[in-house]
Amino acid sequence: MTTTQILNPTAGPTLGGPNGLAAHSHVGGRTVRTSGVASHLHPVASSDVADHPVPTSKSELWKFAPLRRLRGLHADAEFTVGALTATWDAIDGVDVRVVSGAAGRALKGASDYLPTDRVTARLMEYNPDTLLIDVPADSTITEPVVVTIDGADASIAEAAHVLIRLGDHATATVVLKEQGSATVAHLVEILAGDGANLNMATIADWAADTVQLAHHHISVGRDAKVKHSLLTFGGDVVRTAVDVDYRGPGGDLEMLGLYFADAGQYLEHRIFIDHTPPNCRSEVLYKGALQGDHARTAWVGDVLIRAMAEGTDSYEMNRNLLLTDGARADSVPNLEIETGEIIKAAHASATGRYDDDHLFYLQSRGITPEMAKRLVVRGFFHEVLNKVGISSVIDHISDTVERELAISGM
């Protein structure tokens, strides 16, 4: 059975901005994260909008973003009842539903999340409906849960909240497909119970007029395994921040990312992984390609290994391929290590054009320069895509990559 539901049908326009509920909610009571050592990599976490001034181009976390193109989402654009819909097919054993009002408010921050920026603090205060994907403890769901989020109007500012909750020892695969026209602030909370195994992929393939500021928060349970893939293709400006916490030792996180920016597009990915418990693993591989004038991407990968996080195994890698002149990719890996008792902490970043040796090798086998470039770009993406492990996503993205390559006549 397929369900399509308009998100936020109950929220009234008057709820935009400061609203009565927020001031008295339990969310408003918690202000600052209490995880101990303060990190210069990470801003203050607080649900109070007033704690988050409007960012400027001088703000460290927003210095790459084209603030003037954000339609005020980062500042005070009023959220209104929108035209976003969510569509999904029912799958036995998984509870997918839209939760509104006070019940929905109770789900905000369910992954033990406090906003680290103004847009997300405003979103939580506004309390949009929550799309809840709930997988009970000890259940194994083999079929991917696919939810399509579809925008229909980029002229209004909207907010959306998704909560993916896996009980202890649950196993599931979740795909979020984002498409259509929207101006949207998005919070995706991911709560993986102890020993849970989640494979989730988000395909952000918005229409060309979409602006999205997204925040994913992943809470990795003890001995849980989470694979998080973020595949960003469409949209005018798409900025996604991903924060990761571990609730206990033995957590295992793999993050994969692919993005392809065309002329005029701005795509940003910003990762913060907070290693506090010992013996957790994080492995990050993000790859992007850019083509056309003013195609821009930014990737920032922050990994903090706190003093108590002994036995941490962390690796992050970002690679960017510039297919034409006029494109620019920023790539900033940061590593802050407060203990030497770790297995590994490494990062790497590379941005460049085609590898001449790759092209020479292929051409020396009779393959034309154009075909050689196409093979190299496909290969560049497939190195990541092959690890995603969800066949429908791999097929979808393969087609998307071919569509992108056709733009530059490849």
């Binding site: 590898d355 001449d356 040796d357 790759h358 020479f360 090798y361 292929l362 051409q363 020396s364 086998r365 009779g366 393959i367 034309t368 320069p369 075909m371 050689a372 093979l375 190299v376 496909r378 290969g379 560049f380 993406f381 497939h382 190195e383 092959n386």
Partner: protein, 259 residues
């Protein structure tokens, strides 16, 4: 029948602000069915010759000609040279992440043959050649050269030669870094292609570039050329290789260089 004619070839290597001549007038003719071994000490320009013939952009030909069956090789692009029938087995094959070997091989065969090979016949062809080279069938599904051992990379080069069926094959130190078993397998692959191409009336001409005489026990050369300071210093038969085996390059370089 194929013929590769190299005449008075001068080649410089281009770096950011300098240009240094590496090949200083190479003359060499390779006829169909012949195997020429080029031997020389490190730095003598052997590999530069190989890469220049294949058209690597790092090297600039400053004078001389290279003709393949009378056609001007030097005016061809890298891929045109391959389609004209030149093949270079590389000393250090590069890894290309994400491009599966099977996709790569089929794309190359389609380019060189001018049409896509029939799927069933192609799969059998690849399977048979891989078996002959004692390659694990799983290689076809792995990325090109990625995680291959040195020996596996060299087998993969010879596999490509067998599938692309060149008129002239240049083997650039295909023997280096191989243990004796891998050397035998790779040499047998070369000899098999020599025999097959001869039987098909298109006998391949082989330019075998090597630092060591070891591979010549497996692949019998018709001619041996000693390459020193960017030129052919002396040419002869296999007796020249035996002299190099015994005495090294000292007679040609004036200094003791381990063979």
């Amino acid at each position: 029948m194929a013929k590769l004619e190299i005449s008075d070839l001068h080649v410089s290597v281009i770096t950011e602000d300098t240009s240094k001549e590496i090949l200083c007038g190479v003359n060499l003719t390779i006829d169909a069915g012949e195997t020429h071994a080029i031997m020389g000490p490190n730095g003598s320009g052997k590999s530069t010759l190989a890469y220049s013939l294949a058209g690597h952009p790092k090297y600039r030909v400053t004078s001389g000609t290279v003709l393949l069956d009378g056609a001007d090789v030097l005016s061809m692009t890298v891929d045109q040279r391959a389609r004209a029938g030149l093949f270079l087995a590389m000393q250090y094959p590069v890894e290309i992440p994400g491009v599966t070997t099977s996709n790569f091989l089929r794309t190359a065969a389609t380019a060189v043959r001018g049409q896509a090979p029939g799927v069933r016949q192609w799969l059998k062809e690849v399977k048979d050649e891989m078996e002959s080279l004692q390659m694990d069938p799983d290689f076809a599904q792995r990325s090109v050269n990625e995680g291959f051992s040195g020996g596996e990379k060299k087998r993969h080069e010879i596999l490509q030669m067998s599938l692309l069926k060149p008129k002239i094959a240049i083997l650039d130190e295909t023997d280096s870094g191989l243990d004796i078993d891998a050397l035998r397998v790779v040499s047998e692959g070369v000899n098999r292609y020599k025999a097959e191409s001869a039987a098909a009336g298109e006998a391949v001409g082989v330019l075998l570039i090597t630092h060591y005489t070891r591979i010549l026990r497996y692949i019998q050369p018709d001619f041996v050329h000693v390459f020193v300071a960017g030129q052919v210093a002396e040419s002869g038969g296999s007796e020249l290789a035996e002299e190099l085996e015994a005495d090294g390059y000292v007679r040609f370089t004036g200094q003791a260089v381990p063979a």
